[in-house]
């Protein structure tokens, strides 16, 4: 839920999703769910030449499991808060 919570705060930000097949898609994060499935708008594929089939695609829904990385805008991440949230979650996990 922590990461889901983080992604919720990043809606409408530009993120770069790198898939496990090395496809990199930059787009505006429109929504995310608890499986970290991601919906992107106004996408750009970083290596157009290698993935010409993506040229016409303007938005996409990415299944969470195929994601390797998501590059986030650092200015929109509060690292201190993030660490606290992680500690809270870790604490609540051990309690259970």
């Amino acid at each position: 839920m922590l990461i889901f919570s983080v992604f919720k705060t990043l809606t409408d930000q530009r993120v770069t999703v790198e898939l496990k097949n090395d496809l990199s898609i930059t787009g505006t994060l429109k929504s995310v769910d608890q499986f970290l499935n991601i919906r992107l708008d106004a996408i750009e594929v970083s290596d157009q030449a290698r993935h010409p089939h993506m040229m016409a695609v303007k938005n996409c829904f990415i299944r969470g499991s195929v994601v390797r990385y998501v590059q986030l805008p650092a200015e929109h991440v509060d690292t201190q808060l993030l660490e606290d949230a992680t500690r809270r979650e870790a604490a609540s996990q051990t309690k259970r």
Partner: protein, 942 residues
Amino acid sequence: MSFFGFEQNDRLQQEKQRFREGKLEQEDLAVYTWGEDSYDGLGDALQEGGDELNDETFGGTEQVGKDFDFTQQTLLIDDQLEPLLVSSDNTFKQPFAQSDLSRDTANAHGTQASSSSRPGQSLWDEKSPFSVLPRSGGTSRSPADHVRNGSVSSSNLAQSHSPSASAAPQTTSQTGVRTLQDIEAEMKAVAIAQRMQNAAVTQRQQLMQEQQHAQQPHHYQQQRSAPPRMHPQAQSPRFHQQLQQQQLIQQQQLREQQLHEQLQLQFRQQQMLEQERERMLQEAQLQEQIRERQLQELQLQEQLRLDQMERQLRSQRPDIRQHQIIQNHQHLHQRPSSDLPLPGTIPPQQLVQRRQQSPAFIDPHLQPQYQQKGQYMPQNIQLQQRLLSEMAQAEFMRDMQAVSQAEQDALQAEAMRRIMETERMEEKRRRKAAKIAHMSRYNDLMTQSDKDFITRIQVSQLVTQDPYADDFYAQVYSAIVRSRLGLQPSDERVLKFGAFGGVGLGMGQKGAGRRPSAMQKMEQQVERIVHNARQREQEKPVNHNNLQGALGKTSGRSYKAAPRQLLQVDSSNSSSHAHISKEDAIRKHGEGAAKEAAKIGAEALGVTADPDDTARRDPLSTKEALTILEYLYDLVLDIEQIRREQSGLDAEGTEAAETWNKRYSELVQQLWDDLRVMVPLETSNPHPFISLIAPSKGKKLLPRISRHLSSQQMLTVLTLLVACFSQMDIVVHASILDVPEESTQQQDLERQTQAFLGSVVQSILPVIAKAGLRLVSGLLGLLLERSDIVSVTQTRPGLAILTLFLSRVELIKQSMSTATELSELPTQDETEQCALTPQLALPFPFGTHCRRAGCRPPNTVAPTLHTETLDQPVWQFLAALALHATNEQQQALVTALREKVLENVASANKGWVADEDERRAKLGNVNLFLHALGLDSSQISI
């Protein structure tokens, strides 16, 4: 054999006989002996007969169905290719990929044709079925054969008319090959005749009766002359195919014969040129022994007949010319062969036509010719109307031209443009509509309630007991963002679902578009879903137990999430962990020495603790420090949590407030203890507290703790920090930062330094800001005593803290001069301390500062804005120092820094800088120092 309508074995026998008698020399044809060995002569022994029934079996003269088009066509081509090939000495390119073998055969055949009196005869001696293939249907049968066989009779007309007969190679020189046109003409004739037949069925029947006697032998002859013998290969499908082809040819021949009958019928019916035709027929009969002439004649005959036919047709329909004009293109193909082209120059149109032609093919152009007789008038009217309209248009155009050529052109262009525009728009609109239609295929596949249902299911998965805790980051982050934006934090960011918790909405954009009532409705429904799910979960264990093991027990332990535990260590015995036992020891000791440390802290004047009282310990390892820090963070989070709870507690009874206070102070005490500030200074090097603030998260912890600690406690922290200043990583390794080359170590140190300046210094700033002169002097003294002041001042943290102290002293000095009359007047003691302060500066090695400030090796790092910003604290410190310096000290400072100051000013004034920012930074730095001396960079002239 004869069952298939092929040659009877008497002829085969004949050929065989001839072969055995050594007449081989007659055949300069290459003999292909493969397949010969396998011929067992079984075919010779076959009983032949009953050929009369062939017609019955194969439908006789009946029209062949369309299904045979393909084979027929192939056959036709084969029929004609062969002679063509021979005649033109292989200059004709074969459209079919004939094997070399068959090609050779053809060549051989050609050579034989010139030498042998019975051309094509030898072909039948060949055992290979391939030898049969290209001339199937007796293509190369010569009339001589017929004569010898005695089977040629009154059917000569038909026979001679068949393509096979006329295509014989001998005829090439005199009459030319029977060309495509001929065949075409024949085909057309067939079609015409068929139609004629329809028109005059009765006459045809009559003729049939008349010619029955002639037909019958003809059939017989055809069957007899059919080539192949029974080979072992005869069973192959290919062979059967061939047989089929031959049958088809027979049928075609029959039809051709029929055509002639019909033609005759027609002629007779019209009573035109009857005698001439009869004469020709007789002539043909007479010439049957002289093949060349016969063929020539027959061709002529054919042409004549067709000419006649056309003439006749025209006479019947005087309007045919007109009709042909209308259907000119179509008629081009239909034109009779009266204008026969030379052999070898086949017009492509006719080629096309030929390809289209098959016996079953009903000429679509001819048919209308007959049928259109009645329809013609309307068509003519249509034509007239069209002409009229064209004329009218032309007239209109003339009128237009009369107005103005240019104008009209413009108008036309405009009109064209508009039309194009409209077309484009229309195209666009159409494409759009198509796209919408394409996309809207799935419209209303799900109703709104379906969608809502799915949303509810999804939301129900997110429902938790504590939506604030589980969505902590998003909740707090959005709160921070909102407070930064100055928004009121009133709007709810959590969907509450009764007693079951809720769903964090994060930034809260989700529900923005929804009506409140819809949200409420959804809340209720989600609540129900969650409630039901809970109930099911409660019921589940009962069912689960009932079913457990019903399918047998699973072996192994794969269902357990954890990996197999190899080491059985009693986790309750904490002493097994080295670091923890050590930790405990430190803790115990720490408690014992608490009073001692407290005393030190209280004195806060840099008096060191007695070294003899404390046992020396190993410093905390990184892992220990991190473990403690995480525990501290837990405490801080707890404290922060109960601080938040406090806000709602104010209005309640004092009892609750008391409990809260008790708990809070407990937590804070725990926090204080675990900070290990009170551990004696000499316990370890570095001191445990210094170890704790070594990681960046330790440094970041300080500002968060300072809120909960008393000022006295914070003062103790500050004292400890100053006392152990040189123990810190960032001071010890500070020289790494001066190395120009970049490394991860440097990066990390930079990060730590920033964290120190940002967190630690910030947290002690309020303490220093309130500190008296006595305290500051004491701390300075402590720093000087316990640390190597030279190395400390060469670090950014050291400079920062020294500058802090010096500026605090300056502030106190100023307040002294301004507030002399007030009660806050510093005591005499403090004034003395103040006077002492400059003395501290005396041992300062200005040279090193100078080097630090400006004398970076120019070859390594180009002077940039970045280095100037880095130098700023140095200049600040120098300025602070200059303020407190005596005259002699100031002179010494200026002497040491003179070069650097001049260089900075010169480079700023003479434009040796990258941009305006850097220039301003350089001058600002110099001015910081010069202003402290009561000077300005503008006073310096170079």
